[in-house]
Symmetry: C2
Subunit: 603 residues, 2 copies
Amino acid sequence: MMLKTHACGTLTKADVGQTVTLNGWVQRRRDLGGVLFIDLRDRTGIIQIVFNPDFSGDALAIADRARNEYVLAVKGKVVERDAATVNDNLATGEIEVRVTEIEIMNAAKTPPFPIEDEVEVDESIRLKYRYLDLRRPEMQKTLMLRSKAAKVFRDFLDGEGFIDVETPILTKSTPEGARDYLVPSRVHPGEFFALPQSPQIFKQLLMVSGLERYYQIARCFRDEDLRADRQPEFTQVDIETSFLSQDQLLDLMEQLVVRLFRETNNVEIARPFQRITYADAMNKYGSDKPDLRFGLEMEDITDIVKDSEVKVFASVAAGGGVVKALNAKGCASWSRKELDDLQPFAARYGGKGLAWVTVKEGEWRGPIVKFFKPEEIAALTEKLGVEEGDLLLFSADKKKVVADVLGNLRLKIGKDLGLINESEFKFAWVVDFPLLGWDEEAKRYVAEHHPFTRPNEEDLALFDTDPGQIRAQAYDLVLNGYEVGGGSMRIYKRDVQEQMFKALGFSMEEAHEKFGFLLDAFDYGTPPHGGIAFGFDRLVMLMTGRTNLRETIAFPKTASATDLLTDAPSEVDLSQLQQLHIRTMPKPGKQPEPAGAASSANN
Amino acid sequence: MMLKTHACGTLTKADVGQTVTLNGWVQRRRDLGGVLFIDLRDRTGIIQIVFNPDFSGDALAIADRARNEYVLAVKGKVVERDAATVNDNLATGEIEVRVTEIEIMNAAKTPPFPIEDEVEVDESIRLKYRYLDLRRPEMQKTLMLRSKAAKVFRDFLDGEGFIDVETPILTKSTPEGARDYLVPSRVHPGEFFALPQSPQIFKQLLMVSGLERYYQIARCFRDEDLRADRQPEFTQVDIETSFLSQDQLLDLMEQLVVRLFRETNNVEIARPFQRITYADAMNKYGSDKPDLRFGLEMEDITDIVKDSEVKVFASVAAGGGVVKALNAKGCASWSRKELDDLQPFAARYGGKGLAWVTVKEGEWRGPIVKFFKPEEIAALTEKLGVEEGDLLLFSADKKKVVADVLGNLRLKIGKDLGLINESEFKFAWVVDFPLLGWDEEAKRYVAEHHPFTRPNEEDLALFDTDPGQIRAQAYDLVLNGYEVGGGSMRIYKRDVQEQMFKALGFSMEEAHEKFGFLLDAFDYGTPPHGGIAFGFDRLVMLMTGRTNLRETIAFPKTASATDLLTDAPSEVDLSQLQQLHIRTMPKPGKQPEPAGAASSANN
């Protein structure tokens, strides 16, 4: 077997004169008057190899049998190309290898799609033939960047004294949160393991264990309905520390992120990152993960229009809602169709409508303008900085709806107007999240983050008066409008934990039923601790400029949680189910089958 | 909150005079005439902190409330101890911290066992309170070494161009091998994912993808009956390469192991590692994972005794069995009881008995000596190097039984006689494993490694004549009698794969049913490739001198696959099972329950 001495894409003019052995795949072949040119590809790139009767001997005839994606081993001499044949599109375009020996290591059928970037193939075909899809240079680059990013995370955390601890995948079903994947136990009939939604409980236990600094690049599982940026199994960089304040932790994490982008993307991120409270983020951007690469902040004008003749403004204000406005600079020229399209856009986010005003030739125009009093126009002009050419957009509704409508409108306008620098990485911390949210259905508070999130020290008194106002020591890291990380300081004092459970509406006894061993653990000397988890898949997606998580995962699943390559999930032998003490249920609408045939009921 | 400026165990005389803030746990406290001494522990070690009315003020009264495992924050000055009070047992024994401020960060109940090494506690208690067990210094050291070992693996592999790729945990049930853990699908009723027994198929697909060098520290799952060195989920360092020969790969892996032991254990391992064929290992040591820290090789004496008057020797030899002997040097003095105990020992490994001879005062003694002819004694004396004081041990049986009996006897004697240097790490490669084994029950050949293992080139012709004799390009790395790694070169040529499947007794059509997508992938230009997987848990076990895998895993499971800490597996809500389209089956011996009550049938 002729094994490589060099890699295709790494040869340069400095290698001219050397005899090299290369292994790789046939990217393409051209026969020019009896001289055969093959582009040979390996993971480092492509080089042209030449077979000529003058120097290749028998190798020419053998090479002539090679087709695209054949695996070749060739030996030959690196030579400089004639100036006329230099290929500037190829990193190795100044040289070629004159082959004297060849071995066809393996043949290949014609692949279902060409192995090159920018190829238009249905994603389901790419996923079915993932092993070929991954041969495409951009997929290889993505996997390499992902590997590099993981390495930088580890190098940084290792250097800071974090200990990489593996926590169980076969664990216990958790009482809160998303749906668990379950694993039936063979040894314990009727019992199940659950795959972890995150190592949350274990990382807190490791803090109780006195490990002080823990990390893990951890696989997590959520049996949720999927969308483009969700996968049933996903990877998070999971971090927990003891004896650090929130500020100390965020500072350390900023250093981590800066190093990550420097070493994998060659991009310098400025520190410190902007910090914005949850309240400000919602007020200004209508989102807890604002894209801060551009301004276009929304303004609360409720006070200005609360007695307005614009009935919807006045009635919303009277009903406890808010009226907010966006000033889309220079958009007065939008067509009537563009303005009409705003209504369905607003409706998509739950809005009942969207009022607009254009400012043209010094004049406010639009259906609602006639209802504005002069002093309202004056106040709005000042508040919104209105100038010639502006388009004012108004939403009046419940706070949440206005935030959704104008927040999404802001993103759309930002994109449409080209306000976004696509090559910028704009990080910010969103802090001071609410500790509790009111669940209308259950008529009780629920934990916004999780029941162990530490309240802000100065808000503790609100447990007795207005729990909904308590801010948490919880934080998200946002990047260009995506949440790429999040975490919190944890409750470590028993009295605070009791107040928290009380606010959530359950007693310590009920809490013990839900969180038994964790609460037990907290009794034995728990240090102040807190942590964060980075969404690794999403970070890699943003680092590689992708918009689809599946592009960042070697073997992803589809939106219906299927692996098109291996055809998982699949039916299994009845005997396997019997060993696990379970049976499948007949599909809805089918007659129940006798127990023994339960498995075949699912054909 | 008073957060640490220094770590307890890292303070030295160089810090004398500094004011430091420490956070840690109370290891123990002593009150000597109104002066309170507390040993404060964090993950770096222990330091003595002192509370004295002269300099501690209010802090003394607060400290007086602290009990073992309370979490303290203290501020104070580092001072040198009086010569008389220096504690040589403590790394920080020359200094102490005079406390001026204290905060009790948290209280602690009295732990169920003391937080110190060498403590005698039932393992089930340790596992239930794992968060306290992990506070013990030796457990913390183990977790830190494990983290470090993973880092060294990664650093080496990253440096050699290996790409860390995560492969799916939710994957497809495999047709061969151990029992799978299954995961029912909510979206696809009646279908199941399986947890991977190894990333074998994916790593080979990544080679088809042209990634060339892959690694992953991968979680793997086998639903097997457990023992001390097995866990239902375990970790392997999984490696695959293209375009390397077996020798090149083993050489690279030796470099990896040398660096691993140098950087984590501070031990220098000599290279190259010994290579021993499977045949030699079985013949000399009766094991394919020989402990090579000592000799005591067994000798085949079948030829010498095949016509012996010792009837069992002659009849075994005539029946195609073997007769082998161990010479236990200097063991002629064994008592009659020790010699008698050899019989049940042999029986445990399937042997019908064990013959022995002692050599005392120049004379052979023992029940069988009278049947030996003088020329047999002469031949045995030469073959076994018999001298005064020797104990000769004979086993006559089928080859496999003799190997088991004498192999295990060799280990026992090696241990008993102190022939083993316990601090030595003795690596070897076992190579040339048989490709196929004969399955007596199924009356067919089965793959010894797996169906994609590449045969030795020079043995290919044996497919037509004697497949059982084919040697594989498969190798195990053994360390001190444990298999710590194993792998093979893979078949990449279609014609060889077809021969292999034929030898295993199934057609390409049947093979396609079993391995469909992998065989499809092999058609598109598969490079020559091969790999290895290291058993990470077992390696860490040996590196830390443990004998129990559970000591190397943060949150292990018991021999009955239970997590005593979280109480997993456990029952789940019926609604969860309904969403997954499964129901549990009544326990054997119970009446079937109506479908709706299936879950409660398992109380």
